[in-house]
């Protein structure tokens, strides 16, 4: 059966502008462009194009654009083109559909349905250019007992804390799923910004131990690269129980991505698949989780905060309550729009809940139970701007993880084909010729720029609200109003409707 699937995008070349320099040909790892020596002109194979815009950006004469194909099956609101094509693909191969990056479906984005308050007249705004505006914060347990020694001096009973100069951290992305240069950029940016990046579950490359004080190391079900030095090198340890892009399933890094270097970092043989089982097979309860939390604390002599990361799912609030009682210092919640290097399409697009609702419910539940100070809350899963950060903190988060936004700063164009390992921007690939396209000297500066700009915006919005410390914004839901939301949504978010006064 000839089931040709029309490409989704077309490469349009302006022949008046094209000088046949063949830059596009050299830049495209998907082999879209080629030179036709007979006509002396460039050709394009649309079917290979993933729309990563690498050629568009690098074409010296701006001769290229990529457009959505207007070829369509008979218009059908129920069976749209993509749905039909997915059926064809699966009928052809019998395979599970595999995608990457975050859920692209048009679900409601609650960040865009919340508005932030500002002071007028009675409670004047604060000018961030003139007055100190504190965005520094600490993550960890606050619930310290007041104890005094024999001389009556206060004993330090405070659990270990992570100090952040900005309320933004880089979320977990493993070496393997992203490149060495991407990791280096993240590590150096975290150091300069006074924040943290996260190794993900792929271990820590030996070159990056020197960024340890700005590193969060992850311990996932596959325990790749986990050993004493790895745990000791870090500022904090994150136990990954789940990920927003694929709640309830594990990870699978294909053998093709296990280069010599990745194999050394993960401590598995080259070319063999790296499989993380769906559950930690030694954790079937909160008590088991507590055991892992404490074994990590014992291994690091109680000097490092332990983070437990879960995907935002229906029962997230109850689970978070368990985690807060497990001895963990920080809970990280990852919403269903969070990115990934590879996830089954159906899971990415249909499993989990929005981070906004999960966060509001978890913060409320922990407050109701009087254990909010037992843990800090980190959220991620599509934090796209400083406004999202402000809203997340007002809803109850302590700080935010950013992943996709950080990759965008490094050049990612959200083509959602990371799982193919041929990222033309040198991010989601291990091919040396592609990796070297990302220059960490430039990459880290772009990350620093992004977060610094966001931090300025955060300070301005805080000043506008008459708040001069980020900690005073945390859980301050009176600063938020909903727009276009139902009563149920307002209730879940714990906010009033726009126009309602205090």
């Amino acid at each position: 059966m000839n089931m040709y699937i029309q490409p989704e995008y077309e490469v349009i070349r302006n022949s008046d502008k094209c000088i046949a320099c063949r830059v596009c040909e050299r830049q495209c790892a998907n082999l879209v462009h080629s030179f036709d020596s007979e006509t002396g002109k460039m050709k394009a194979d649309d079917s290979k194009c993933v729309n990563c815009h690498r050629c568009v950006c690098l074409c010296p004469t701006h001769a290229l654009k990529i457009v959505k194909s207007d070829d369509t099956y008979k218009i059908n609101a129920n069976w749209d083109n993509q749905t039909i094509n997915e059926v064809y693909k699966q009928a052809n191969t019998g395979g599970v559909l595999l995608s990457s990056m975050g859920n692209p479906k048009p679900y409601p984005v609650y960040w865009d349905r919340m508005l932030v308050n500002a002071s007028q007249v009675t409670n004047p705004p604060i000018d961030p250019l003139r007055e100190p505006m504190e965005t520094q914060l600490y993550l960890g347990k606050r619930a310290a007992k007041i104890e005094r020694d024999e001389q009556g001096k206060l004993k330090n009973t405070l659990a270990p804390q992570l100090k952040l100069k900005v309320p933004v951290l880089f979320s977990a992305m493993s070496y393997g799923s992203i490149s060495y240069n991407a990791h280096e950029s993240l590590a150096r940016a975290a150091e300069e910004l006074g924040t943290y990046y996260n190794t993900g579950e792929g271990g820590l490359h030996k070159d990056f131990y020197k960024y340890g004080k700005n590193t969060i190391v992850q311990v996932a079900s596959g325990r790749f690269g986990v050993f004493k030095d790895y745990l000791e090198s870090a500022a904090a340890i994150e136990i990954k129980m789940g990920q927003g892009a694929k709640p309830g399933i594990g990870g699978h890094l294909p053998g093709a991505k296990i280069s010599a270097d990745v194999s050394e970092t993960r401590m598995i043989p080259q070319g063999v698949d790296a499989i993380s089982p769906a559950p930690h097979h030694d954790i079937y309860s909160i008590e088991d989780l507590r055991q892992l939390v404490y074994s990590l604390k014992e291994a690091t002599e109680y000097k490092k905060p332990v983070i437990v990361k879960i995907a935002a799912v229906h029962n997230a609030a109850a689970i978070a309550s368990g985690i807060a009682r497990s001895g963990a210092d920080i809970i990280a919640i990852d919403g269903y729009r969070g990115g990934t290097g590879a996830a089954p399409t159906r899971i990415r697009d249909n499993v989990g809940i929005p981070i906004e609702l999960a966060l509001a419910q978890i913060d409320q539940r922990l407050r109701d139970e009087g254990i909010r100070d037992e843990v800090s809350i980190l959220v991620g899963g599509s934090i796209r701007s400083s406004a999202d950060v402000i809203k997340a903190i007002a809803l109850g988060a302590d700080a935010c993880y950013i992943g996709t936004a950080a990759l965008l700063a490094l050049g990612c164009h959200l083509c959602r084909s990371c799982h193919e390992g041929k990222c033309n921007w040198g991010i989601a690939t291990q091919r040396p010729d592609l990796v070297k396209r990302l220059n960490p000297d430039i990459g880290y500066k772009r990350l620093v720029n992004l977060v610094t700009a966001w931090n300025h915006e955060i300070q301005e919005m805080m000043g506008g609200m008459g708040i001069n410390s980020i900690e005073a914004l945390r859980g301050n839901r009176l600063m938020l109003r909903g727009i276009g939301l139902t009563d149920t949504e307002l209730n879940l978010l714990g906010i009033k409707y726009a126009g309602e006064s205090m």
Binding site: V96, V226, G255, P277
Partner: protein
């Protein structure tokens, strides 16, 4: 140095073990204290009584000997060193082990050796004298597991779902008949002679527990290995 663990909280016990300057430590009257020896590199610890869960987690070269039984998660994510158990071990023994050796004289519980992995000279091994429960070697990615079947209760040498998701390493079972209910990813073959590295592990076990080598080394085994290095490769379609 001797530490009397009776009535002691695990945090205090482990702190004393870490702080101890002597290499040799004997923990007496152990009553379920967890995380003993976690991450240690250069100690020789002997334990009288019964240690609690996660004995020798992240163990980094130290040697631990327990005269009786151990509980769950012994040698969790162990990196190097040795744990010798004179009795039986609980569930999830050697989870995600990446180096070192665990010798158990008696039986081991469920989920033993899950996600063991190997890299270059780091090749972890677990030798179990008796039998073991279900899910042995699930997701095994490297290393060696040997089950000697030296138990007398007549139960099968392994439980169900042995080697589910296995994609590296090998499991040796000293038994006459191929175990039933092996998953599709696992290939089983009968061997009349152990390869030398496995034979040496068995000899070490015999020496540890004073057993006659002959019956264990010169026996026929079933050897389980993964069918393919990439068990999931065919499962996906790029979307």
């Amino acid at each position: 140095m001797k530490i009397d663990a009776s009535g002691m909280h695990f945090a205090e016990l482990n702190e004393r073990v870490r702080a101890c300057e002597e290499k040799d430590i004997y923990i007496a009257n152990c009553v379920g204290q967890r995380y003993i020896g976690t991450g240690l590199a250069d100690k020789e610890i002997a334990v009288g009584g019964t240690p609690g869960n996660a004995l020798g987690a992240y163990l980094n070269g130290a040697r631990i000997r327990v005269y009786g039984n151990v509980q769950e998660a012994t040698g969790d994510t162990m990196n190097g060193g040795q744990i010798v158990v004179g009795g039986s071990a609980g569930d999830a023994t050697g989870y995600a082990m990446r180096g070192g050796k665990i010798f158990i004289r008696g039986d081991a519980g469920y989920r033993c050796g899950i996600h063991m992995k190997a890299y270059k000279e780091n090749k972890p091994a677990i030798v179990i004298g008796g039998r073991t429960g279900s899910f042995l070697g699930e997701y095994q990615a490297g290393g060696t597991i040997v089950v000697l079947g030296n138990h007398t209760d007549g139960k099968p040498i392994i439980g169900n779902f042995c080697g589910t998701g296995m994609h590296g390493g090998e499991i040796y079972l000293r038994c006459g008949q191929i175990p039933t209910k092996l998953p599709a990813q696992v290939r089983a073959e009968k061997i009349e002679r152990l390869p030398e590295d496995a034979a040496e592990l068995v000899r070490e076990w015999c020496r540890e527990f004073g057993q006659e080598e002959g019956a264990f080394v010169n026996a026929s085994y079933f050897r389980l290995t993964p069918n393919s290095d990439n068990p999931y490769r065919q499962m996906y379609t790029v979307n």
